[in-house]
């Protein structure tokens, strides 16, 4: 599409900003940092296995009653 190729970048940017403004979006919005969630994940994975073990023990105990 030749019209896309010849449209100046500045015009594209201002159009995108215009659309974003209408939709109430912030184009410069940062994505949530991956670091905090990665830390949360690794702590969770360390205990996940232990939590399943705990369930096994409690289920086994009920079976003996």
């Amino acid at each position: 599409n030749s019209s896309t190729l010849t449209t100046p970048q500045g015009q594209v940017d201002s159009l995108m900003q215009e659309v974003a403004d209408e939709a109430g979006l912030d184009l410069n919005l940062d994505l949530p940092s991956a670091q905090s969630s990665a830390v949360g994940q690794s702590t969770a994975s360390a205990s996940a296995s232990g939590e399943q073990d705990e369930l096994s023990q409690r289920l086994a105990k009920l079976r003996q009653m």
Binding site: S56, R58, L59
Partner: protein, 107 residues
């Protein structure tokens, strides 16, 4: 922990999904066990076991075979444990359902 290899592990969508179902299953079955152990309302415990079992089923269904690396090894161990608890929780659910059915007949 050996973290010399690549570290995309914990953030992988499959691992996140597995972890999510583990967490939900743990919440439901912990509550069910507490009621069950304290001899509370068995019908409430049954409902919670059912919900927990559904989460365990989704958790063990997450496809993690054939992937290499420590996070995946860990995920497979978690999958094994969820499988064990799935069977045990189903057994317990069956016992409680029979118990409830008997009470229902006698009253």
């Amino acid at each position: 922990m050996t973290s010399k290899a690549r570290s995309p592990g914990p953030a992988d969508p499959l691992l996140v999904t597995q972890k999510h179902h583990h967490r939900k299953a743990f919440e439901y079955i912990s509550k069910a066990l507490k009621i069950d152990e304290e001899d509370g309302r068995k019908d409430v415990a049954v409902e919670l076991y059912r919900k927990g079992i559904a989460e365990l089923e989704k958790g063990v269904a997450v496809q993690i075979r054939g992937q290499v690396g420590e996070p995946w090894d860990k995920a497979r161990r978690l999958q094994d444990k969820m499988m064990t608890n799935l069977v045990m929780a189903q057994d317990r659910l069956e016992v409680l359902e029979k118990m409830l059915a008997m009470n229902h007949h006698s009253s």
